[in-house]
Point group: C2
């Protein structure tokens, strides 16, 4: 081992879902939106003035921050933006989770939380979901250094009702509570309504799913002005200009085109509800999903084998080889046609 | 103070240069390129297929990594990319500077180094430049936890010859040595030629200056495969997808258009050399710059007052209110016309 290697931060990184390069495929493995972004996003991109590229972008990304603030009826000083909600969450861990006590999150959840805790050397404890994959609120009333959970949860898709979220936030006034709402636009109730009431609540959202912009990496946090100020201080101690010019321009249009947003998310919700019926008919069981995916298990068919068989036919879903969930598949909601092809395959497979 | 605030990471953030929103201005304050990016960058952007935006970008940004590797004749596994060289440097601090001993860098240098050290709680020591603003190599032969310096240095523009860099790298086999080459394309000698010889050397570059792409935030590190592997592990523990789809597509074209790159950087070098002559005629003194800026002082005119007077006429340069350099102005090289307007002003001011 070379000398310098003794001082390397050793980590076990997060593994993102596969991005297969095959042309003819059905990609239901990374919770992307099956529909393209608003046509106004394309217009804005194609009209971009190229000379400006030589200049640094606005470090505060003010146009984007203001568009988000307008949309959610908060002050621009309550909005923090980043390179996808992953960047926003990483910055939030670094900013708010500096206690000696462990932060807490569910045992089954977004698998990046323990990775961030590890890279920043933050102690953590996981709290087991109930047998029905629900968060037990009492678990979040113990002493801790901070709390984070997704709502709806991933990869289960299950929602914690707003009253439960408020109970957790209210019980923990002395730590930051982060609600990761990556999937909230598909039918769950947002905790944004609580931001005015609690100064320790941070709500994190993204354009990757409901606004079809995973390729552009745009996420944000909304919270009390003071919290956002702390986040910005850390961001400006890391990278002054995180949002490039194309992200700012495209992000503004994506958030402004509310009509398109409502259309696509309603289409996905409708497809999800039909998918639930069809999966049920085939004998699958799953928590009731309020997200753009369904976390399904079949009492007779092994998930891992099914995952492999689907993959062979170029139908990609996500499988997690982890305790408690190793017999589940996370299936992203695609177009009706894509889901139809999935069902055809499943019917054949189970015949 | 609210309870959660006790656990907030308190930092004093980096202050980026002003981005004035005035239309008619001469902007010589943030070392941007006065020429637009290659026309091929625009073409590629305008031809982007919008449906792909709904999907995550390639987490490895392979197209961009390969284009950079091709250009510099290294293996793709020796290239790490990030959201500007600031992101690359932040990740490098986090990855390699984990010793209890202080890292070292010059007292007059890029003012983000101490900010990164502070945010990650890395001990550091600065080594004074000589009176002529040169790095004293002997200073970098003491025990340390890592070394970083820019070449050419910022904001001085002075170059450390390659033999000096090699002496520092060779004297420090047990720590990572980072050479920050943000401005190297304007005439300094790159340390890339040493990467094959030393496994602890990391060379960091950017598209922001010489490739006119500050607005897109694209930077990279080149080093030993193992170093790049460690960097990637930390990056994948922070944000899987840092480079968005537009960055990857535009970055590839910017690096491939070598003809345009050579043209613009030669134009800037020529303007810089003329600028040196004219500044000298006006009585300014400055270290010999190998960058796209000149760090100039005048024995008779106070830098701060000159800075304010220029600003009033919408000519923006950079002034640092810091020990040893508080009578200097950092003047970015613009077009010949822009520099002409600067000289006109200076001649009048000094009449």
């Amino acid at each position: 081992m070379s000398g310098y290697e003794r001082f390397v931060r050793r980590v076990v990184p997060y593994t993102p879902g596969e991005q297969p390069q095959i042309k003819d495929k059905i990609k239901l493995n990374t919770n992307e939106n099956p529909y393209p972004p608003s046509p106004k996003v394309e217009q804005a991109l194609k009209q971009m003035e190229m000379d400006s590229m030589r200049m640094y972008p606005d470090p505060a990304a003010s146009d984007l921050v203001e568009a988000i603030a307008d949309y959610y009826h908060v002050k621009p000083s309550q909005v923090f933006v980043g390179v996808g909600s992953d960047d926003v969450l990483a910055m939030s861990f670094l900013t708010f989770f500096n206690s000696d006590k462990p932060i807490i999150f569910p045992d089954i959840t977004y698998s990046f939380y323990d990775v961030w805790a590890d890279v920043f050397r933050i102690p953590y404890e996981t709290k087991p979901l109930t047998q029905d994959f629900e968060i037990d609120i009492e678990d979040y009333k113990t002493e801790n250094g901070g709390i984070i959970f997704p709502n709806p949860n991933a990869p289960t898709g299950a929602q914690l009702p707003i009253a439960g979220i408020e109970e957790i936030v209210a019980a923990n006034p002395d730590v930051a509570v982060i609600v990761d709402e990556a999937y909230v636009d598909f039918g769950a109730e947002s905790a944004l309504s609580l931001v005015g009431k609690y100064d320790n609540l941070l709500v994190v959202q993204t354009m990757s799913k409901s606004r079809s912009m995973a390729g552009m990496r745009i996420g944000w946090a909304i919270g009390n002005e003071k919290m956002i100020g702390y986040l910005n201080d850390v961001k400006y101690s890391f990278n002054s200009y995180t949002m490039n010019r194309t992200s700012i321009v495209m992000g503004v249009e994506a958030i402004k085109d509310d009509v398109y947003f409502e259309q696509t998310r309603k289409k996905i919700i409708a497809t999800r509800e039909r998918t639930k019926e069809q999966l049920r008919e085939l004998g699958f069981v799953f928590p009731d999903s309020k997200s753009n995916f369904i976390f399904a298990s079949h009492p007779k068919y092994e998930a891992k084998k099914l995952f492999e068989a689907l993959k062979e036919k170029h139908i990609f879903v996500r499988y997690f080889d982890k305790p408690r969930i190793d017999n589940y598949l996370r299936i992203t909601i695609g177009t009706d046609e894509e889901m139809e092809r999935l069902f055809e395959f499943l019917k054949n497979y189970m015949r």
